[in-house]
């Protein structure tokens, strides 16, 4: 049965329920496994990374599955999809897989096929600009692809664009994508607002778009488009209260000194727009992870409260990321993730070694902030500590 070319296809607006099919779910996975996967399902014994981006999984049956992993874009066109299908049809029996981090994987059953595939992939570059379409890498102790959100391409709450920052960052971190020379894997992620569709709250290094101005209030339409009690209830700091305009229209007022710029009110009420190009910025967080390996999963911590939203290449963000990554690469021990390293040396040393200023913005003043205060004397001396001593006249 071919896809329909009719304008409304199989949908009949006069009889919308006719022939309707619902609740069928995803397609079943088994038919999409290449034979080497079907034959060895649940029988894998061990794996090795032969070189950056190339893995071999060895089965108890003796079979081997070779995977070539390529950095992918989350935002692609159908042309790109067809191009990777052409490669899959020629080199991997028409099968292809995507990873959770938007990488593309071709799985083959021999080392010869790996070489042929790699040669082919290297030939695929964009006619415009010459960037690679299928860079091979993203395995082991390196930087793999950055998970990210929609940004200006599709989102109404984006405080910064996403795809452009990720492209700029991956260009800047490319040598770490194609090598495995870091102390452990470094997971970088990016979210364009506090909703964090990319769940950047548990990444080694996370970049987050953030607002820094309270919402504007569109008094004229607020009473028409907004459930006022819901907007009021949406505010985690109770900064929003009911009000009336001079003309007697129902509206809200905002105690701006209470606003923490989370934009939750805007989600509930379109008459409270947050966007303001002057105010928006990028926050860097670091030291989080989701794996249970050695240390438990943990949240990322805010380490840079403000970086400019300098589209399209975000030079300050790229530089700051490299700064943290280089300090980590130089100082961390084998197997230590960024957060493990910071915990071992102490966060005061993290700021010193990364050459990042510790500003008042980095001390929590939201709920449960006390949990992050130091309540012991086991600190290390850094210049930041001496600055306090001097200011307190504790030193000649």
């Amino acid at each position: 049965m071919a896809l329909s070319k009719d304008r409304l296809g199989r949908f009949d607006p006069d009889n919308p329920m006719a022939g309707r099919v619902t609740d069928i779910g995803p397609r079943h996975y088994w038919q999409f496994f290449p034979p080497v996967i079907q034959n060895n399902y649940g029988k894998w014994a061990y794996h090795e990374i032969l070189e950056p981006g190339v893995l071999v999984h060895v089965s108890e049956t003796g079979d081997k599955a070779f995977t070539v992993r390529c950095g992918g874009m989350r935002f692609v066109t159908v042309d790109f999809v067809r191009e990777l299908c052409d490669i899959a049809d020629r080199f991997s029996d028409g099968y292809v897989r995507f990873t959770t981090r938007n990488n593309v994987e071709f799985i083959v059953d021999s080392l010869e096929k790996v070489e042929a595939l790699k040669t082919e992939l290297a030939k695929h570059t964009f006619a415009i600009g010459g960037s690679l379409k299928f860079p091979v890498g993203g395995t082991g102790a390196g930087v793999t692809n950055i998970v990210h959100t929609q940004g200006f391409i599709h989102c109404h709450t984006a405080a910064v664009d996403a795809s452009s920052m990720v492209k700029a960052l991956m260009d800047g971190l490319f040598e770490h994508f194609t090598s495995m020379d870091l102390p452990a894997q470094v997971r970088v992620s990016m979210a364009c607002c506090l909703n964090m569709c990319g769940a950047v709250h548990c990444s080694d290094i996370a970049l987050l778009g953030y607002y820094r101005k309270p919402p504007a209030i569109d008094h004229e339409i607020l009473h028409k488009v907004c459930e006022i009690p819901l907007a009021i209830a949406a505010c985690p700091t109770a900064a929003i209260s009911p009000a009336k305009t001079e003309d007697g229209l129902k509206t809200v007022k905002i105690k701006v000194e209470r606003c923490m710029f989370c934009a939750n009110c805007y989600t509930m009420c379109p008459a409270l727009p947050m966007s303001d190009g002057q105010g928006q910025c990028v926050v860097m967080m670091a030291g989080g992870k989701v794996s249970n390996r050695i240390s438990p999963p943990t949240f990322s911590k805010v380490v840079i409260p403000y970086l400019p939203n300098n589209h399209p290449r975000f030079p300050e963000v790229v530089e700051a990321t490299k700064q943290v990554l280089n300090a980590y690469a130089a100082d961390a021990r084998k197997y230590e993730r960024v957060g493990d390293w910071a915990e071992r040396i102490g966060w005061e040393k993290f700021f010193e070694k990364c050459n990042l200023p510790f500003t008042e913005h980095l001390i929590d003043d939201y709920r449960l902030a006390y949990d992050t205060y130091r309540t012991n004397t086991q600190f290390k001396y850094t210049e930041a500590a001496w600055a306090v001593t001097r200011a307190a006249e504790g030193e000649e």
Partner: protein, 474 residues
Amino acid sequence: MAFEPKRPQKTYTYDDVRLFTDAELNNYTAEEEKNFKIKHDIPLLEELESGPWPSFVADSKRYALRRRKLGEEGKLLINPDVVEDLLGQVELSMVHGETHWKHGGIVGVIGYGGGVIGRYSDLAAKYPGVAHFHTVRVAQVPSKFYNTAFLRSLADLWEYRGSGLLNLHGSTGDIIFLGTFTEQLEPLFAELTRVLDVDLGGSGSNLRTPECCLGKARCQYALYDTQEMCYEMTMHYQDTLHRPAFPYKFKFKFDGCPNGCVASIARADMSFIGTWCDDIRIDQDAVQGYINGAFPPGGGSHSGRDWGKFDIYAEVINRCPTGCMSLEYGKLVIDNPNCTRCMHCINTMPRALRPGVETGVSILIGGKAPILEGAQLSTLIVPFMKAEPPYDNVKEFIDKVFEWWMEDGKNRERIGESIQRVGLQRFVSDILGLPVAPQMVKEPRTNPYIFWKEEDVPGGFERDIDDYRSRHAR
């Protein structure tokens, strides 16, 4: 192992369903691609064409060329300028530092309360191709294996009835079709379900499309069949996936082991993480192989730098978080009851160590990003549960959780927040009817502000001031 889909799967080749001819699919030359200018000036975006990483701008521009040509031949159902107008709008958004999408918009397909997200440009006059730019979430294959017949068929459908722009994949896991007009939503849905045999994913206050790691398909660490379980749960809870009955979104994610490759502990309201309850399997000869340098530690994960000779003490035994490993007379010994299954030794010596064979899942609840009460990681609720088809034990547990949350959850409150509001102990004891355990907390409380119940205390809460005064003068 049974690989029985819940329903018969339609099989089709690309040629069975295709919409475009080969000539239509190859309708521009490399020369034309190089010289093509889109209708808007996009100098900022064009800065992103250089550099080694794949350029989404270069990809979008070449595709805009193809669309323009197809459009001129009348072979597309929505505005052929959609890609050019999108790039124009994104460029202007970069100049302004502000997004130009309007807030929300309720669109969808009949009978479903999710799967489609309405989106409208606030510059529709300037960029008419993106006046409507609705998103359609298509259910991905759980661990994202595909064949080209399926991907090519999706590509044709989406090019014809939408923008041809998509995410592979969105943050929750769906294939995301980005940008079409309202008129094409129902036709798209009909073609997806009736011809391509695939459904929409979740959005809004629904169960979101569940996601799993690749599990037994290509990983020796998979401690249960993540794909089978993810697929089964996705099918079993189809109704909640398409029809919003929850206070807010709800996500299942299935990680095969504590390495957590789909980040379920951070990103799922209910995280299923593979674990085991017997002993780590040791191949002592292979341990010697690592010590002798015959095998690369970590399967070669650190081979890009010279870290020196493998040192089993420095790299494994002394890194064990519980100190439960030792080397005795050349043999590796593991004090298994004290192991917390962090995976480090297994990850580092994959040929020598394997997880036990008594396997199941740990169930954790409440992970989420910061909106609203701050970020949360999932909390351990069930330390170990067998996870085998038909998963009736797990379904019963899930149903209990859903029943309570649908009744007691507040509007836009994630379950992690609901649990915080009522207290973990109440959630576990009163709602789930389970005993509490020290495994559920990092440490016991540091304050004695216990909400004792009336029945806990002799004589109850009824106080009699006269009785009190009979012993105490005013």
